[in-house]
Point group: C2
Chain length 344, copies 2
């Protein structure tokens, strides 16, 4: 096990790939691996990219990865599809071929899909980012396939979240619903050469001006003091810029990277980066506690003869669900009460 | 507390209203109330009604309730809005006025909204159905406002699920996504006088013929053996009929009730009613166990000094989320292990 960790820390991409597979499958020992990697993290800049299907996310992400690499940085990309139970091979292969210099492993592509619960996929994404960060990647890009609530949860793993909007999509209301507007630090109108792009930019600008700063992804403890028509950082807060790109012609990629970088600077300047990391760890710990507690309770249920015996009694109206739950959890409660009585 | 239960069982609508408020707010003692009511349940026929906004659910439900009452049955209606944090007053008032004979309390209307988690609302719906069933209502109608995954979970409380589709809505794909097709026992094309109604019926029929029977709401342990073009019960399985209604003119309401009744007969004939009830109780027990376990774990976290102390150490890379979780849960595990060692 620690051999695998050592190989990853020594910069072996094969070890990185094996660790992420372990994380995705929740294979035995994955927790110890992630635990061991944690102390080597905190250096990568993590970018989340989300937006409706067809917005051109993967094309833009490929260009971004190539540009980072051309500037001498190392990059890891995780593409997440919460709606698909399938994983790995095909998508990964396609994407590697799409990268301009696939032989150059400074860009590491990996796709992950929903195996278990959604909470699980969100945790797995966090763990995969940990692996890429510990490996030493300068930039980690987390790309989601869709733009629903699941994607919002996943993309929160990032320091900076970019939301892609295709022009003239009329997606505004749906995006608002999914909470996408609230989490965007940078907005991108991709395919900006298409009809309706100007109108989409204008609509976005109006919506962003109307949005509350309370739930703003990057604005913990700060207030938006002024508005800058052209986007960019205001005096005390962050006004999400709207960048226009034509990703398949590489247009606007430089401006997009500049906007991401501006937001990174903003986070460093305001302490937002640390606050976000803290919030993320808090959410992660809560999720893990919930998952573990559920496993312990399931074991208690089995100990009590399994669900079937209880169900017979509930169906016969001899007992009821609430009473069953109290009975199953009684040993745990007694245990904890006994401990308190002995002042432990 | 048992006074409240006695008043409900004695047929006092004010007590029924108070119990449902208690359930909705998770007020102290609500568990004991629901526990006490459970043994008096199992007599009501529970109908779930879902479908996209604008499909005319509330109009149809009002007509259904009035028709049941005119036939001498008692009816309870719970309208659930998972997307709204607001509850009670206004909607309830409107709906009571809409009922043709509001003074006649044989039709009891009540709206409930999202207070806490969605799981919570689903549990609260189940508990409210328990209250109406124990009260002695012959029919309980659970109506949801939207048609998403949340609504699917809520409507599973019912023995028979009716899905409403507005004509020419183009909602087909979205409905498939939300799993609505899989849970419908009866489909209703409401506003059947509008253009496009025939096409919608035809589209629905094609989709239903294509749907897998594996996840079929009412078909546990059975297989669909044949198809009946006009809907109704096939020899071994249930082929969901498609009923056309114009609810605001009361057209097709009789046919709709006949279809619901057919499905009820089918459940009785095949043992499906008991199997569904068993499945529901199993799901409910699992949900309650999860909720309680989460509360116990949160208490352990507080005992360990709260999340903040742990977060400081995680941020300093002195520990990591997985190790924190192991530490918090260690006392619980030790407790349980100790018990096994002593052969208890």
């Amino acid at each position: 096990m620690s051999e695998l960790v050592e190989a990853l820390l020594a910069g072996k991409h094969s070890a990185l790939a094996r660790v992420i597979t372990k994380i995705e499958n929740r294979s035995p020992g994955y927790r110890d691996v992630v635990s061991a990697l944690h102390r080597h993290t905190g250096h990568a800049e993590v970018i989340g990219v989300t937006g409706s299907p067809g917005a051109g996310k993967s094309t833009l992400v490929d260009k971004v990865a190539a540009e980072y690499r051309d500037r001498g940085h190392t990059v890891g990309v995780i593409a997440i599809d919460p709606s698909s139970p399938y994983s790995g091979g095909a998508v990964l292969g396609d994407r590697i071929r799409m990268a301009s210099n696939a032989g150059d492993m400074d860009v590491f592509f990996r796709s992950m899909s929903a195996r278990g619960s959604l909470g699980g996929l969100s945790t797995a994404t966090t763990d995969a980012v940990t692996a890429l960060d510990a490996f030493g990647k300068d930039y980690v890009v987390v790309e989601t396939v869709g733009a629903g609530q699941n994607e919002v949860d996943i993309v929160r793993t990032a320091d900076t979240v970019a939301v892609l909007v295709p022009p003239g999509s009329g997606d505004d209301v749906q995006m608002l619903k999914a909470g996408i507007l609230e989490i965007g630090d940078v907005f991108v109108v991709n395919k900006a050469d298409l009809d309706g792009a100007d109108r989409t930019v204008q609509q976005l600008r109006e919506m962003l001006q109307g949005r509350s700063t309370a739930g703003h992804h990057g604005a913990s403890g700060t207030e938006v003091a002024g508005t800058t028509e052209d986007g960019g950082a205001a005096e005390d807060g962050w006004e999400p810029p709207i960048v226009e790109t034509v990703a398949n012609r590489s247009e606007g990629v430089g401006e997009f990277l500049a906007a991401l970088s501006d937001h990174g600077d903003y986070l460093d300047r305001t302490g937002g980066r640390e606050q976000q990391a803290r919030d993320r760890f808090a959410a992660e710990i809560r999720t893990l506690l919930r998952e573990d507690a559920n496993r312990m309770v399931a074991a208690e249920l089995d100990r009590g003869g399994g669900l079937d015996a209880y169900l017979d009694a509930v169906m016969a109206r001899e007992t009821d669900p609430y009473t069953v739950v109290d009975e199953v959890l009684e040993p745990l409660r007694d245990c904890l009460d006994g401990r308190s009585e002995h002042g432990e």
